[in-house]
Structures are given as structure tokens and as C-alpha cells.
Symmetry: C2
Subunit: 626 residues, 2 copies
């Protein structure tokens, strides 16, 4: 068994085929993700904490500690969780790039948690005081266990990056309290899963079976309609079918994905292969039938939910940013639990097409939902909080601002998603400029330096920086789209198929492996059961989904792409042949399909993650064909 406390990462299973590397073992040094990590550390963390201070969400803890009855508690019922999440993000950032100032900020905020905690370990600023609603009075909507889960995750991050401290103590008392109230003899589940995965990670950190048992109880208790009936149905809460009996994710996407993370964690720690297989099958079916091309999940605005199979509208794609974060969390867990590199492919797609899309260049603007089709231009609302969640441009804050700290914690801890160790060597799952220094299971020190033009280009160079002596293997993932990839080592070129290219030998320092992934743009057709994009085509290039964007008067809705000729590469985008075919206006839009003959045009497509960065625009990922 590994020691999950010694590894600086968010998910450290005590068993499984792959050992994740910590952020001290993998450092992102440049390129696409380095700039995003830097902006996250320099802008997003402060931006989010400033907003939470201004809105009084951090102040809720001080008010609770001081018993300020007169002060209205600020924010929605889950506001505490945002503060915890930003503490988690700051803790990972502190692990990645230590700073006294950041450390002091963390200590200030977490100090208020200690002060606000009740004697029996309960900690929530919205419930339980005599002028508030009673504790656990509204499990469906109160989010108390959800908030507690984020507290535990913050404590995991803080402890793994800064060692034991007061936050660990707060979390331990909170976890003990939950075990007492909701243990074997208790009942109840939270409307919003999160506590499950948090308890398992906390059990890994603390080495306490009790927390794992509690997580397993919460997972097994769900699915029996114990939460109250609601317009959105029990599926909204994933309380319609027991976890091991479900066949697909449904209901509120973030809830479903967080729950699945917890179920995988429980399965891994308890050696419950049935449970693991059940969740993996649910994920696979969801990926095959309920996922947007970008890897985004969630088709419905109304209940932030999955639709039925193949209900994947481009224009009302919800593809919530938090669902993207949760998909990365889940896919990484499945990768670690199964060793199946398909799940690394999932992480790749979601990172480059949901996560990268959701953040503005300034690190201070965000998408809550990630539409695949913007029909009309909308303006920024400056520095104001945004009340709705749809369409461009990115907003500095939302009434429900879960996406900001969720992105921040993922980005700060991103290096631990790139490379894993196994019994025989290292596996590189995600391509980014990074330096790897670690040791194999037998203790031999090994090191790699990865340099790449990914995701815009397909060149990957992996140089050995610590040899490790005896033969060991380096495995490079070849993405599913990369047919025709070529691997070069010791001047020997050979084609490699999608999957994994494994090289086992005695490595010398300075020895280099080169992987060339083909990144010419390609047309992608949808399954004909996806009604919403019938008759359309998309274009991808490498891991990037491309889109057509218009800042001007071009009518993207009249665009008709000709697919007789492959898209051409240009810059980091593509050019396709098309016509603009504006239909004739009539008083009733059904009957005669005639349109004006269109003029041939060349349409430039750019990476989807770049859209809505240059001003109000319209955008399409799916392009109607001629």
C-alpha cells in the first residue's frame, strides 16, 4: 500500500494499477497549461477571494463565530463550500508555488473556520443557530453535507501541501460529527453528493477506516427515493436508482458525477469490483450517448441535467463548467483504478474543450455553461455579477459561482493529472511541457522532461533526465484521433496505433523519444440519433474542437459547409469550403425549403476554447452541410 499522505495530489488511492504523481514530482514548466496555471495563481485566486469577501461569504464564518444574530447570513445555502473550495485551490497553489503571502491568506481564512465550528464538530454558517433553520432539516436542498465535503477536501489539500495544522483538526472534528449523526444507526443522504468522495480522500489522508465506512454508507443509501419528491424527479438527486444498479448517469450532471467519484473511491478502497464496474459502465454509456463533442456534460438548463440518450442540443448545451471539472475528477479516478488509457483521453478532451473554454484570458472572467452554438451576440455586463448562466461573454461572477473555485482548484493541482507510475515504469497521459522527477516502486529514481507543441501541434519530445539504471518502461498515450502517429527513438521511426506506445529499455540520461501526432483538421459527423445536429459536421484538429465565430455581420446560420474536400490546416485552425445560403423570408417557416443560391466562401475555423474572447460574437461548433 502507498502512503496517500505523502503524495501531493488530490486523488491518492491506496491501491490500483497506477500511482498518481504529486505536484512536487511533476512540474508544468511552459506552454498551454503553464500560462493558465500562472494566471490562476496570480489573478483568479485573489479575484475569487475578493468577491467572496465583498459579498460577505467569508464573513459568514466570522459572524457565526461571534454569534452575530443581527447579521443576515450572506449568499446561497452552499456559500460555505465556495470558501472551502478557494482554500483548497490556494492550498494546491501553495504546494505548487509557495508564497508567504498566500500562506498567510490561507491561515486567516481557515482561522475563521476553527472559530465558527460548534463544540460537537458541526460547521455550517447557514443552519443550527437559534435564529436559523435547524441542522439537517432540509437534506435535499440544504447542502450541509456537501459543504462539509468541500471542507474535508480543503483540509486534504492543505495537509498534503503544508503538513498537519489547524484545518486538519477542524476537518477531523467535522468528519467525526458526520459519522456520529449519519453512521450505521443513522439515516439520510445529502441532496448534492460530494461528501462521499471527500470522506474517502479524508480517510486516505487520515488513515481512518471510519470515514471510508461512512462514505460507503452514503453511497449505498442513495437510490431509494428517501429525499422528498420534486418537480425534477428523484433522478435529479440520483436518488432514483441505487448506484450499483444504474446503467447511465442521469439527473443533475454535477451531482451524478460527484457521486460517481465517491463510488469509485469507495470501490477502490474496499476492493469492490462490482461497484467499480457498475460506475465504469455508467460512465462509458454516458460518454457514448450523453456527452457533447467538447466532452461537456449536461443538456438541460432547467435542471442542469443530462438529457435522454442522444439529446445533445448545441444551442442549449449546458455543459456546465463544474460538470467539466467533475468529469476530469471522475475520469482520472477511473484511469487510476483501471489503467485504461481511454479515460486519459476523456481528461484530454474535457481539459482542452471545456476547462480551457470556461476561463477568460485575464483569469477574472468565466463561463458557467459552455454552449456549442451562440446565435445572437450578447454584451459583457462589466464588473457585475451575472444572474443568468448562458452564452457569451464570460462574466466575472455568478449568483451561483461554483465554477470559479472549482476551476481554480483543478488548475492549481493540474500537474498531478499528467503522469503516473506503475510497477514497470512511467506513463505519460497528458502532454504538456513538464519536468518529472520521481521514483519507481522499487525506489529507483527516474526522471523525464517533456516538451511539446500540444495541443496546437502534435510534436512531443520526451527526454530521460534520470536513468534509473535497470530497464524500465516509458509509455506514451496515443489519442484515439491520432491515426498515423509516428514514434521515433534512437533514430528509429515506427508507426504507432491509438492506445499506448510502450518502450521498455535501459534508459540513458539524455535519450529522447519523439512522438508525432497528426494534427491535420478532420471532419467529425454526429451519430444520426443526435437529432439536434442532424445534417451538420464539426471539425477537430488534434485534441481541439474547432468552431466558426463571427464578430461581424456574417450570418453563421446561413453557412453550409461542403465536405467533399478535407479541411485545410491554417495557423492553429482550419479552413473549410462553404456557401452562405440565406433562406427567403416568409410568413410561416414551414412548407417551402427554397433558399437564395449561395456564394462560395472559405470559412476560417478557430479553436473552440478561444471563442468569445474578442467581443460580442456568434459561434457554431456544428456546421450545417450543403
Amino acid at each position: 500500500m502507498r502512503n496517500p499522505q505523502s503524495i501531493r495530489g488530490p486523488v491518492i488511492p491506496s491501491r490500483g494499477p497506477l500511482r498518481p504523481l504529486g505536484m512536487d514530482e511533476v512540474r508544468i514548466t511552459g506552454g498551454f497549461w503553464a500560462i493558465r496555471q500562472q494566471v490562476n495563481g496570480e489573478a483568479t485566486l485573489g479575484h475569487a477571494l475578493d468577491w467572496m469577501d465583498r459579498l460577505g461569504w467569508t464573513g459568514n464564518f466570522t459572524a457565526a463565530a461571534n454569534g452575530v444574530e443581527s447579521r443576515e447570513r450572506k449568499g446561497r445555502e452552499f456559500a460555505d463550500s465556495e470558501v472551502y473550495k478557494i482554500v483548497e485551490a490556494m492550498s494546491w497553489e501553495q504546494g505548487r508555488f509557495p508564497s508567504d503571502e498566500l500562506n498567510a491568506r490561507i491561515e486567516t481564512v481557515t482561522g475563521t473556520f476553527t472559530a465558527a465550528q460548534d463544540d460537537d464538530g458541526y460547521l455550517n454558517t447557514a443552519f443550527g443557530r437559534h435564529w436559523q433553520r435547524p441542522r439537517y432539516d432540509d437534506l435535499a436542498w440544504g447542502h450541509e453535507l456537501y459543504c462539509a465535503g468541500h471542507l474535508l477536501q480543503a483540509a486534504v489539500a492543505r495537509t498534503r501541501t503544508a503538513g498537519d495544522g489547524p484545518l486538519l483538526e477542524v476537518a477531523r472534528r467535522a468528519a467525526d460529527h458526520i459519522c456520529e449523526v449519519f453512521g450505521e444507526s443513522g439515516q439520510g443522504i445529502c441532496g448534492h453528493p460530494e461528501i462521499e468522495t471527500a470522506l474517502v480522500e479524508f480517510a486516505r489522508l487520515a488513515g481512518e477506516q471510519r470515514y471510508l465506512d461512512q462514505a460507503a454508507l452514503f453511497v449505498e443509501r442513495r437510490g431509494y427515493r428517501s429525499l422528498p419528491a420534486h418537480e425534477f424527479g428523484w433522478s435529479y438527486f440520483n436518488d432514483d436508482v441505487p448506484v450499483r444498479k444504474a446503467t447511465v448517469f442521469r439527473g443533475h450532471a454535477v451531482r451524478a458525477l460527484y457521486l460517481a467519484c465517491g463510488a469509485v473511491d469507495v470501490a477502490v478502497e474496499t476492493g469492490d469490483d462490482d461497484l467499480l464496474e457498475a460506475v465504469a459502465a455508467q460512465f462509458d454509456r454516458t460518454w457514448a450517448r450523453r456527452t457533447h463533442l467538447t466532452g461537456g456534460m449536461g443538456s438541460r438548463h432547467q435542471d442542469e441535467a443530462f438529457g435522454d440518450d442522444f439529446v445533445l442540443p448545441a444551442d442549449r448545451a449546458y455543459a456546465e463548467t463544474c460538470a467539466g471539472v467533475a468529469t476530469v475528477m471522475l475520469a482520472q479516478r477511473l484511469l487510476l483504478a483501471t489503467g485504461d488509457s481511454r479515460y486519459a483521453g476523456v481528461v484530454d478532451r474535457v481539459l482542452h474543450n471545456v476547462i480551457a473554454t470556461a476561463i477568460g484570458d485575464d483569469g477574472r472572467s468565466f463561463f458557467y455553461a459552455n454552449t456549442l452554438h451562440q446565435r445572437t451576440t450578447t454584451r459583457a455586463n462589466g464588473d457585475s455579477e451575472r444572474l443568468d448562466v448562458g452564452g457569451g461573454p464570460r462574466a466575472p461572477w455568478f449568483e451561483v459561482s461554483c465554477c470559479l473555485p472549482n476551476l481554480a482548484r483543478l488548475l492549481a493541482s493540474l500537474s498531478s493529472y499528467l503522469v503516473t507510475a506503475d510497477d514497470t515504469g512511467l506513463r505519460v497521459h497528458q502532454y504538456a511541457d513538464c519536468d518529472v522527477e520521481t521514483h519507481l516502486a522499487d525506489g529507483r529514481p527516474v526522471g523525464l522532461r517533456v516538451r511539446t507543441s500540444y495541443p496546437e501541434g502534435g510534436e512531443v519530445a520526451v527526454r530521460v533526465t534520470r536513468s534509473g539504471g535497470e530497464p524500465w518502461s516509458i509509455s506514451l498515450r496515443v489519442p484515439g484521433w491520432a491515426t498515423g502517429a509516428v514514434l521515433t527513438v534512437d533514430d528509429e521511426r515506427r508507426p504507432v496505433a491509438p492506445g499506448e506506445a510502450v518502450l521498455t529499455r535501459e534508459w540513458a540520461v539524455g535519450q529522447e523519444i519523439r512522438l508525432e501526432l497528426p494534427t491535420q483538421p478532420r471532419f467529425i459527423w454526429p451519430d444520426p440519433r443526435i437529432d439536434a445536429v442532424r445534417g451538420c459536421v464539426a471539425v477537430e484538429r488534434g485534441p481541439l474542437v474547432l468552431c466558426a465565430e463571427s464578430l461581424g455581420e456574417n450570418d453563421l446560420d446561413a453557412l453550409r459547409v461542403w465536405t467533399g474536400q478535407d479541411p485545410e490546416q491554417t495557423g492553429d485552425g482550419a479552413v473549410v469550403r462553404a456557401r452562405f445560403e440565406a433562406p427567403l423570408d416568409s410568413s410561416w417557416p414551414y412548407g417551402d425549403p427554397s433558399g437564395r443560391p449561395g456564394t462560395p466562401v472559405a470559412v476560417h475555423l478557430t479553436p473552440y476554447h478561444r471563442w468569445a474572447r474578442r467581443g460580442p460574437s456568434t459561434m457554431r461548433v456544428w456546421l450545417p452541410t450543403t
Copy 2:
């Protein structure tokens, strides 16, 4: 000027090119709508009132009258309006088919209104008592003026069918109170329009300029963002743009349509042609760009709202039943105000494809939303209230049950939508078996007997039953789809084009006009800007939209229709040639569009309004083509 009090109908403008006939002048005697009127009178009215009694919505008035502080007020904030609407429906029914029992029920219920009304005329069971929220504290969501509007409409129906009585007095006092609070020197509008159209009709009934002025004030005050900001935007309330400046309907569909009804009413009564033209243009653009094939309006579940232009998803079509009722109300007002028979075509489409769809055969089950595509079968939930609004089967009640009394009042008063009088004669707008006995403007008695196979067939026979002496004109509407229609009178057959066929002559009793409307089924293609149904075709037959429905294992999603041959007529449906092409399953639904070669099949289509009547089923209006 006409006397709007003497005509037994819901909309009696004091001017305009067409005079509506009352329910005593037009009686539906058989056929498609007669059976629905009968079921409405025999089942729906009692069903709705029983539910409202059981849920305590009627009891709210008694409790309010008795000052029962302890009793929790039942239902949502707009529950009073449902009671008013069912009184309106019962009043029209009483006018159509008088019964002592029904009359007694009306008197019992309306007696509680009198008792509950405050001394100053204010009447609402949810606000204003010292244990409730203050009056007009929450104009955006409180629905107080909305409820008052339905009270006025109930009083109009009762007075026009039973003469002056206590309900008229209650309504007059409520209207006076509103004029005092919200008059020239006041401010404020209701979040849900309704009071505007109600005040105008009440002004017509009462002959009071004051009520008309108040309606005009409410119409003109809207559009300046005086209601509070909300996630759904000001457009939700139609408070984003002044009525005369808007170019299209947007936001919450029922709100938009009710407001438009009020604006047309104000425009007609004040001779404000600019306002009338503005609303007509908004309607026309909405009809051309934001209306489902069925005539249903509303594309979004989340905010029950119109989408952007051409955003008309079949599967998430909201097409709320109440929006259908409101479209009929508005189109009839535009017909009366302009004389343009296109608006009668709108009424025709909505009646046969939204209204007829929304009601179960038993008159005790209903659709709230009217989807155009049901992917998965769902079960009935028996006699329970339904919490969600989507999909089949029809439900006996909803938490928000506005659709039931709204359908009931429309059906009970339906005969007044069929025929109008103008300076030169009669115009038949809607085809149903009916007897017409009225008089022309100069007082000459005229009569018609209409017999028809409409909507299943296209034969219409109009027999003169009172001659009227001097020449006068009979005008028959030829629907837009009816190319190739033939008119026969005095053994003379002649083709007539869509629009109106007008015959002016000295008529003899017994003389007959025969209109043959072609009802062979026809393919309908969508405007290519409607992304949601690209690559699909629909089939219509006469005024009826058809659909494919499957009760069994047939996979409608794999259906591919061949449009090389016209659909064939069969029974009251059609048969089209198709293949079932199930795509191959893969782990990711984007990339390779290959499918299994399909077997040719003949697919039977039936009227859309008939779907979900035989058990759990899947359904498609829009059929993908080969």
C-alpha cells in the same frame, strides 16, 4: 358602435371591421368540437372544481372571508385566478347550455368572492391580512393584478350570459380599487400581464372609460425595467422594451401573449392604429420565426419562454397549453381588428393541433406542455397531481394547473370564434357543424347551417336558413394549405384560391354552397434556419399535423422517411415510405456516421392531437429523411 353587453362572447370590441357573434347566435351542433364541448361541460368543469375544492383553493375565499388566521392559505400565489377562470368557464357553459345545477354552483362559488372582498374593493386571498404579506409588495411575482384580471373576465362571462348580478358588483369594486391605486398618479405593473385585456373587456361591458384608461396606462408603463432584475431577464416579464417599440414576442410566452391581447384591445378601443400595427407586426414575426409547426409557442422549459428566432426544438418544445389558449385569444382579436383572414388560419392551426392535443378523451387529463417529440415512454401517474410538465401521458392535475380552466373557458365559448358579421354579410372563419342565426347590421335576419367533415375531411356545406331578402355576402375562408379548393353553388363549380371565397347574392332559404378543401396528406419542410429539425420532414393533412407514434418496440429514432413519393391517404392519417436505420453503437457518438442498412417499411402517421391516448408511447412530428 355596437353594444358589447348584448353579445354573448368573450371579446366584443366596440368597433372594427368584423362583429363577433355570440354563443346564442352560433351553436355548435355536432362533429369534432361538439364532442369536446360536451365533454368539457360534463366532465372537465366538475373535475377542475372538485380538485380546487379538494386542494383548498376555493376554500381560500371562505377562510379569507371568515378571517381564519390559523388556516394556511392553499396553493400557489395565483390560485385565486384558477377559481375565477373556472367560474368564467362555467358561466360560458351556462350561456351555452343552461342548467339550474350549474347556476347554483356558480352562485355558491361567487358568493365567497363577495364575502372575501375587502371594504375598499381589494380582493386576493394571499395578501394583505395582518398575517400575510402586504398588498402589492411583490408586483413581479405576487400575481395580484393578474388574479384581479381573471376576476373581471369571470364577471364579464357571468354578466353576458346571466345578466347583472353580485359578481358584476364585486368586479366593479375590484376594478375601481385598481384604478385608484394604479391610476395616473400611481405606478407599477403586474409581473404577469392579464389585467390589461381584462380591464378593456370590463370597460366594454360596463361602458366605463376609466377602466379602459387604466388598461392603457398598464400597457404604456411596461417596458421600462421597473420590475426587479431576475435571472431570466426583463424580457421574461416583457418589461424590457415598451410595447409599441418591440418587434417580436419574447420572454415568457403566456405573459407576452396576454399582454399583446391587452394592447390590441386598447388599440381598438382608442383607435390607436400605431399600437395595433406594432402588435400585429410582432405577432407576424413571431409566427414566422418562433412558432412550432403545431402553432404552439414557447421553446424553453426553464423560463416557459420564446427562444431566439428559429430556435424551435421538437423535443423540448414547451408549446404550453395556456400559450395556445392565449394565441387563439390574440389571433381572434387581430382578426376582429383587421379583418385579415390569416389570423383565422392561426386560430384553426392552434385549435386543431394544440388545444385538441392538450385534452384527454375523458376531459379529465391534460397536457401542460405539448412536445413535438417524445423519445422515451413515460407512464401515467394515475389520479395524482403531476409535479413536472413535460411529455406524455396527460395528467389529471398539475401543481400549476392553469391549463385546465383555461381550456375549459375556451371550449365553453368556442362557438363565438367561428363566424363574424360585417357590413355586407357573414364570414365563416372556422369549420364546424353549427347553426347560425343572427342579423346583419341593418337588422335583416339571416341564418346559415354549416355541416362539414372538417378537420378529418375537407367537405363543407353551408345552407342558407334565413334568407335576409336583399343581396348579402357569405364569405368562406380557404386555408393557406388548400391549393386546389373548389366551390360549388347553384351547380356551378369553380376553383378558389387560399384566402376568402366571397359570394354575394340574394339568397333563398335552402340554397347551398359546397366547399371542397383538398386534404391529401402533404410533406412539409422546415426553414433551414431551424437547427433542431434540419434534415427532417413533417406531414400534414388538412389542418392537422400528423405524427408517427409507437406503442411497441419500434425505434422511431431510427426511422428515415423517403420523400420521393407523396404520402398516401389512409383513414384520417397517412402512410409514408421509410427505412429503419439503426446506427451502430460505438463508445463515442462522433466520428463515423455509418449505420446498419435499413429495411423498407410503410409507416402509418396519425393526427398529432391523438397521440398518447392509447398508453405509453414514443412520438415524432418531425421525421428524419433518408
